[in-house]
Symmetry: C2
Subunit: 253 residues, 2 copies
């Protein structure tokens, strides 16, 4: 049995205002919650006994063993699963010194929470540990973002800061961005350290952020040297870019 105020609180976490007020976020789903449970402080775990039986020791401030219809009442998913967890938002410190010895992503105004989650997931795959977002980028703790990360939210640290000033402080490392008039990514030298800036779904990188970019790249379409009126989804473009950075670093002969 889940109390009505608890259900109300869970459902309030769909909105950024209430996430900020409580400094909590929501995760749902058998695999997702199991994957990230060791990485975040759990304020409240609501689960079927069958799911709990598949887990080892569980650390949660509050544990509610629930029935299917309880979970359905609280869930934000179309197809609720066996567990809902409320986690405390971690407090990370952005270490700009470390950043200069690593490869990181910068997101300028990504709007769609699903795109952000997919980018966090692929960042994890390609060994990128830090993502710096403009303040108007989608919220990492939006339940849709958390879901799309498929657990990678536990391995990638996401920060929000005004990008123009941030890029000014980073001018001593290469700052890459993808543009339609950039240089062919396959023909360029790519650094093992630096920042890769990706822009908004519709508008790309904003003019003020563009000024901070030292290396403009382009993902060529095929056949080469044909003009395309099309573009790539931002998560797809991020993936192809990160893959090429890591390939050059690792497999280039």
């Amino acid at each position: 049995m889940i109390s009505k105020p608890k259900i109300k609180f869970i459902r309030s976490l769909e909105m950024k205002k209430f996430r900020n007020e409580s400094a909590c976020f929501l995760a749902e789903g058998n695999k997702l919650v199991a994957d990230i449970l060791p990485s975040f402080d759990c304020e409240c775990l609501i689960a079927k006994s069958s799911w709990l039986a598949t887990q080892g020791d569980i650390h949660a401030k509050e544990l509610i063993v629930a029935e299917e219809n309880d979970i359905e009442k609280a869930s934000l998913l179309k197809t609720p699963q066996d567990v809902i967890a409320i986690f405390r938002q971690p407090e990370y410190q952005l270490d700009k010194k470390n950043l200069k010895e690593d490869l990181s992503l910068v997101l300028d105004g990504i709007q769609d929470p699903g795109n952000l989650g997919t980018i966090i997931r692929l960042a994890d795959w390609f060994g990128i540990k830090t993502i710096i977002c403009s303040p108007d980028t989608a919220d990492v703790y939006n339940p849709k973002t958390v879901q799309a990360t498929m657990g990678a939210i536990a391995h990638v640290r996401v920060f929000y800061t005004p990008l123009v000033d941030f890029l000014k402080e980073m001018q001593d490392i290469p700052i890459y961005g993808t543009f339609l008039d950039g240089k062919n990514i396959y023909r360029e030298q790519l650094s093992a350290t630096g920042l890769i800036v990706m822009g908004n779904e519709g508008k790309g990188i904003s003019p003020s952020v563009k000024k901070g970019i030292s290396h403009k790249l382009y993902i060529p379409n095929y056949p080469p040297d044909t003009v395309s009126t099309e573009s790539l989804n931002v998560a797809v473009a991020t993936a192809v870019t990160c893959a090429e950075f890591r390939r050059k670093q690792t497999y280039q002969t």
Copy 2:
């Protein structure tokens, strides 16, 4: 003014059953409709006069000049735009001979219409003109798929056929698939012609389809030779794979 039966018909196109019965599909949005209007037979175009003023000659069996509130009533979008179009589903013929001289995608049970749309969009970018889907793959004419293609639905032909028999007929060309135990894609020779099979979001490529695959590939994570429990979103994996095929074909030194 849009009649009630017309609104009902438009909204019915959200469901595959009614799309199949009418052989129609829906597209919404100022840029999307403008982009694909020349490529499909338009049964009915509902638009604000302001949008129509931005277009040249329009060929549509029925043209309804509508007000904002009319469009809101008919739209499936959260934020309706200025135009809704009902198109006839094209009747393409799958030419297996041509397929053997090209690089094409095969999708085995992709569930999410957004993923399918994103894959169609990136296929277009990478010059892939044909996608063959298992019958249980999401419907290309689902409005969410159409939306996610961002117009690429006009350039890429999507077919549905049982894959096991289809792959048997294609055994004389290389058939690639991505697997966690495949060979490093960066270290393999990749053919300029052939099929690339991508699997379901959760389960990957099904066992019966796997038997038809001649070359198993793997997209390495980073750092290399670390074991990852994570995976890539299917559209992201498709993008990295297609990019690498095209890179090898074009830029390999």
